[in-house]
């Protein structure tokens, strides 16, 4: 009985150790990927035996994506059901609906701002403590307060994003991100680089695991703020 219990414990320990090693290995692989992706504005990688690359979006790619995003936005905005009711809601509409159900998103945003202010106040305290060589205990205390506030902010931000993810704005942005990924991805075929997909439809029908890898690399070259929002 005792032997079996020990064997089980050994297995648990081994599994824990393996998980730890796998976690560290994943971290190292990611670090290696990020470091090798820094050298250029074109990132080459392999999926299986196939070579791909993603490139920094050109002005033309961004303009094309902007057009597609506007089309998608209008499509979602005007889509109606059989009874003529609008199917999709804008962020403002959703906020009003949630408010009627007792969920105040504006209030959440205010809370997030208040948390940011508190974090900034602690940052000043840490900054002062570091320049005036205050005791470590004091620093640690402020750090713990910031960590707590970060957690609160993360929770609220996640909640807000989840509540608004079905909005027209959010859906059209996700669509635009997919479209831009489609435009900037190339595949090495017969000794030369060519667009990975002939049509966006073809991109959408690609296996999810392939899309996930490509999206990861695309996220390293796309600047959502500049490439998708500030056009």
């Amino acid at each position: 009985m005792a032997k079996k219990k020990k064997e089980n414990m050994d297995e648990v320990l081994l599994e824990k150790k393996l998980k730890e090693v796998k976690g560290k290995l994943d971290e190292l692989i990611k670090k290696d990927i990020v470091e090798s992706s820094l050298g250029s504005n074109e990132i080459e990688f392999e999926i299986g035996f196939e070579k791909y690359k993603v490139v920094k979006p050109s002005y033309k790619d961004k303009q094309e994506t902007y057009k597609q995003r506007a089309l998608k936005y209008t499509e979602l905005l005007t889509a109606t059901d059989n009874k003529g009711n609008y199917i999709y809601k804008s962020e403002d509409d959703l906020k009003k609906i949630y408010k009627k159900r007792g969920i105040d998103i504006d209030e959440m945003e205010n809370k997030i701002k208040a948390i940011d202010n508190k974090i900034n106040n602690y940052k000043i305290k840490i900054g002062e403590a570091l320049t005036k060589d205050k005791p470590d205990k004091e620093l640690e205390l402020f750090k713990q307060e910031i960590e707590k506030l970060f957690e609160e902010k993360k929770e609220l931000t996640l909640k807000k994003t989840t509540l608004l993810e079905t909005s027209i704005e959010s859906q059209s942005l996700v669509y635009a991100l997919s479209y831009l990924t489609y435009l900037i991805t190339y595949k090495f075929v017969d000794g030369k680089w060519q667009r990975a997909w002939k049509t966006f439809e073809e991109f959408l029908n690609t296996p999810e695991d392939v899309i996930n890898v490509i999206s990861f690399y695309a996220s390293l070259v796309i600047d959502i703020q500049n490439d998708l929002l500030n056009l």
């Binding site: 050298g39 250029s40 504005n41 920094k56 570091l130 320049t131 910031i146 390293l220």
Partner: protein, 122 residues
């Protein structure tokens, strides 16, 4: 996902290797990347953090801040926030001093104009 990547970028930018490369690149005009323009979001983030850690290392060398600042990301961010705020406050102090000075100068000018004003009918 982006948080994990940002963490890796920070660690790389903070490393002795990349800080040395960055400081040499600045002094000797070496290229950090294959491309000189059209930087990716990852490259921009990396450049920002190279500069961020360059400033912290310089301040540590000048005894402006304790090297404890490099213990964790929270201390680093906090110090840089404090540093920026302090220099902004100093700038606005200088600006208000300059404003007061220029106001005084204006008043003086007016006085001088008044003193040397040509009397009417002369």
């Amino acid at each position: 996902m982006m948080d994990a990547i940002e963490k890796i970028v920070r660690e790389l930018a903070k490393s002795h290797y990349w800080q040395t490369v960055y400081s040499n690149a600045k002094e000797l005009g070496l290229k950090l990347f294959k491309n000189d323009t059209d930087f990716t979001s990852l490259q921009i983030m990396f450049l920002n953090y190279l500069n961020f850690y360059g400033v912290i290392n310089m301040d540590i060398a000048l005894n402006e801040v304790s090297d404890k600042v490099l213990d964790n990301f929270i201390y680093e961010d906090a110090y840089m926030y404090y540093r920026t705020k302090k220099s902004r406050d100093n700038l606005s102090d200088i600006k208000s001093l300059t404003d007061i000075k220029s106001m005084r100068q204006d008043n003086n000018k007016q006085t001088i104009q008044w003193v040397f004003k040509r009397p009417s009918g002369v």
